[in-house]
Symmetry: C2
Subunit: 301 residues, 2 copies
Amino acid sequence: MNNFPEQVTLVEVGPRDGLQNEKHPVTTQTKIELVERLAEAGLTKIETGSFVSPKWVPQMADSGDVFAGIQRNPVVTYSALTPNHKGFELAMAAGADEVAIFGAASQSFSQKNINCSIEESLERFAPVLDAALAHGKRVRGYVSCVLGCPYEGYIAPEQVARVSKLMLDMGCYEISLGDTIGTGTPVKTRAMLDAVMTQIPASRLAVHFHDTYGQALANLTMALGCGIQVIDSAVAGLGGCPYAKGASGNVATEDVLYMLDGMGIRTGVNMDRLLDTSRFISQTLGRPPVSKAANALLAAR
Amino acid sequence: MNNFPEQVTLVEVGPRDGLQNEKHPVTTQTKIELVERLAEAGLTKIETGSFVSPKWVPQMADSGDVFAGIQRNPVVTYSALTPNHKGFELAMAAGADEVAIFGAASQSFSQKNINCSIEESLERFAPVLDAALAHGKRVRGYVSCVLGCPYEGYIAPEQVARVSKLMLDMGCYEISLGDTIGTGTPVKTRAMLDAVMTQIPASRLAVHFHDTYGQALANLTMALGCGIQVIDSAVAGLGGCPYAKGASGNVATEDVLYMLDGMGIRTGVNMDRLLDTSRFISQTLGRPPVSKAANALLAAR
């Protein structure tokens, strides 16, 4: 924890991982404005939508329209979650700059979430990776449940390292390690990262924390101290936690940015514009941002 | 950040620093039950009240009755804030086990908060310390604004170290370093602690973080890594922030305990009983706990 990076890349997952878990439906126009405002705030990596069966995720049924509607900013990477080859083709047709696949470090979670074992899920991802690499598109790999599973509880760091290495070897350029249920704490975060980093350099890793138990920034502090330089977050803390009723989900981009700005770590993101974006989407959803920094800073305006 | 303590002492400040800043008045009986429930949860240091002029702090006017009403647990230290000699005499009459004085690292804050310079405030504390030591009572010293001032902004770590050392040399057994406005982040926390620890060993220090901008647990992670083993917190995150309207105040004991339990750091506090206490005071105040861990854990019950 004695050396922190000078620069960090924030990957904004609010429009996808966030809105996908929000109760209130959001219009396509609102999604388009949200993505455009995030780009204006300085976020250069925005997970814009997902091409999953609308039967499973109706909230993302209009992802094609969102990609079609946004004014593109040339410095921004607009990515899409694509669980299979069909999803990948739709993402390409929509003009996604990059795609992501979603795996798990927990067999039970993989079975309940995508109805197959970890190994079967990797087999399903293979054609997506082949097609993406053939199209010259980069693929980001998510590994969920890296600090705990809603069904199994403890997940061994070695298991997280094994699955992460398999996805990297399949061709993912970056592995995003997700504390899906938010039960991680700093010592567990370090143990997990230590195990993963025996297989994968920090430069190919990202962390994805949920703030369900308020631990996200503490875990991020540890991850930054371990050399992690890519952080996933969602504006206004979008996205509840399906595994803890009434609990919060993704760590808020505002809270992460407040910490990084205070630590002198560059991100290129402008807090004022981010706060405008936070207020915009929160007013649309009819609730205050799930972000202490946003609420305190907006109250002081 | 590579070595964390095996054990940490939590100093519960909810009944005093918390309730003093709550809008809704709380009955003496509720305060008594709160203090007794906190002791049952395993908290051994409880800031029970304050003996300040009721003109300034009407919320604490019944502190004598609270001390008189609580069933004492022999392993618990029930402390009181005593700004001057009169307050100290009242605290002794009420049977306080320990007293605390409240100083500041910021001249402007000292002037606006207690109408005198830092040096004058120390002169006022001298008779309290003399009397306390004569009575064989320990005195805890609070230093506020250690990571920022609502009037001056930046506060030099050397200034925090200077004031802290003066209060220690006057006879305080422990100095609690308070981020009064919650603007601290991990790197600033480390710089402040590094400066203070050139004057005072970690064993004589405590940290007191406010979660106004959501940074408290990140700062605590850094403080623990620096060797701090005493942490102030307030059940249910009691106490708003007078300097950021609508913002949260003291870090919630539940969030701190969730982190420490997850890190394998012993505290002797029982989470289930703490959650009962959190629900009790939150229902009395008519709002949910200002604690993500409490809300997630209570929702799962």
